[in-house]
Symmetry: C2
Subunit: 334 residues, 2 copies
């Protein structure tokens, strides 16, 4: 083939492929979202930042979208799921720690009384995490999480935890990626707790997960190079930590951010503060029938009145799970 014919054939092939692509896009990309201003707002934003020549156009490399995890991509009630993992680990490790029988917060956890165990607040939680999340290699920890999440069930719905993800958010992640966005998780949860399953569940690879972490140390164990997890906090990816974590890991300011609580405020402020078109969204848990209704009065995952008024003042989108979401969990459909 000469190069002119090759070039023409290549062009023809590309036009053909693009026509299939646009046919696919013509279908509703967000079928679990009810029609209305929320869904329309998302679609308008994506349309304007992806339209070449538009004043709001953003090159693909800068289409960074960040998502909180607990309460934004999957449920976080009756308690955030990493705590379920930690409690499970306390049970497994208890035989090696006879002293836990008389020592809080472990004593109450072993009796099944989570509320009393957590009454100790932040210090109690840190103790639980340091005892259950440190002291092994990163490879060993990954295996522990993988094995646990393969069978872990939600205490109320009895569904696998990996099914407690919001179908509308899965569609949103896929829709953004189909439009050239790079989707990141930016969560207060443990980075190494999320990475073993985020690719399978959300399509987000480990290198696009930002989270809280403990310190690790490089060691040669019998000649084998490993990273050992130390009982020392490295970084808390929450509140003012979220913009810091975003800058550290991504190095670009997102143009879209998605959260559900006061812990996401600074990530949304940081996202909104850049030049050009921006999109900020908060998921409000107002559907007590299909999910869990909670707000300012809840201990975990708060959505305070002041967050709601900041969102309204700034024109951020607030999702009413009750009104905006046709389906919440994929398993409802069956």
């Amino acid at each position: 083939m000469n190069s002119r014919i090759m070039a023409r054939l290549a062009t023809a092939a590309l036009v053909l492929l693009l026509s299939f692509a646009s046919a696919a896009i013509a279908q509703d990309p967000l079928p679990s979202w009810n029609d209305g201003p929320t869904k329309q707002g998302i679609i308008s934003f994506v349309a304007k930042v992806t339209k070449e020549g538009s004043p709001d156009f953003v090159p693909p490399a800068e289409r960074i979208a960040t998502f909180d995890n607990d309460g934004t991509l999957w449920a976080e009630q009756p308690m955030y799921f990493q705590l379920l993992f930690a409690i499970h680990r306390v049970g497994v490790l208890a035989p090696e720690h006879p002293e836990w029988k008389d020592k809080e917060p472990f004593a109450s956890l072993l009796k099944g009384d989570v509320k009393v165990a957590l009454a100790g607040g932040e210090p109690a939680i840190v103790q639980i995490f340091m005892q259950t999340h440190a002291g092994m290699t990163t490879d060993e920890f990954e295996k522990l999480v993988e094995d646990w999440i393969a069978t872990a069930k939600h205490p109320v719905t009895k569904r696998p935890l990996t099914e407690m993800v919001y179908q509308p958010m899965l569609e949103l992640l896929a829709y953004l990626r189909a439009n050239g966005f790079k989707t990141f998780i930016v969560s207060g949860g443990g980075i190494e707790f999320m990475r073993p399953w985020t690719e399978k569940v959300y399509g987000v690879p480990p290198e696009q997960v930002v989270g809280s972490s403990i310190k690790t140390k490089f060691e040669l164990q019998g000649g084998k190079p490993v990273l050992v997890r130390l009982p020392e906090i490295n970084f808390i990816d929450d509140k003012t930590g979220k913009p810091v974590g975003i800058n550290q890991h991504i190095g670009r300011r997102p143009i879209a951010a998605f959260g559900n609580s006061d812990g996401d405020l600074q990530m949304l402020q940081y996202t909104a503060g850049g030049p050009g078109a921006r999109f900020c969204l908060l998921v409000h848990h107002d559907d007590g029938e299909r999910e869990f209704a909670y707000g300012a009065e809840s201990k975990i995952g708060t959505f305070s009145d002041s967050l709601m008024s900041e969102a309204k003042g700034k024109g951020w989108t607030v999702v009413s799970m009750k009104n905006d979401w046709k389906t919440i969990f994929a398993f409802e459909k069956n």
Copy 2:
């Protein structure tokens, strides 16, 4: 069009595109590398990990390759280039710091005597970096780096610093990416010093750059959300820090790693320590005519005798710049 015809046309279009792709691959992907065991080793490794059904096959998502920067992707003599930036900043800031005239290491730097200034070792270097790299927002720092690197010239060759990159390594980065690898920089240099230009120069976007960092703090400055750079070390991405930084940012063990000094040893050990096919390479600066010849006796960017013997013992590839590289810098060609 009915769907059967559409499917056939799509298949035809794909076959056509793939044939162009394979025609492109048939050309030598590493034209600046001389034929020989080094080049052959790279090509054999890529062939076996990308061949589906091969026992060494690695899925694209796990094809992580990490590259040191100074002395591996671009030159680092007569001193690493971030130090040139710091010295430039000392000059710019000097009028605001009359006390520097009598205070080391600044006094010597202002007199142009870098050697005396650096005689203070690590503490002197930390002082220079804290004074020149902190105290502004991340956006302001990015602009400082961008403006500087747009005109900065190499003190010996007088070439723009962004031309002091190794042509064979640019080809290697492109070759790996064309084979489904994700290429990361993992450098002892400052993460925010590299990010403003790595995409343009190496094709590596900011989110794929791992480096040393100082702490940052989220603030609302007159309502504007910014990150302020603080004069406090956050992380040193060198030696045992490299595997830690890789795990923190990427969350997967690389299958290929590229370095040039003792600071890269643990990254190479960590890479080599995983299961399956692995590729580790060290660039040896043995070409005093076309570049700079330096080894164990050099203060900066050491390649010690013990590193050389570890490389030989482990079967890692050692590049002789003199013998393995046809071209070192792209500008030589002219």
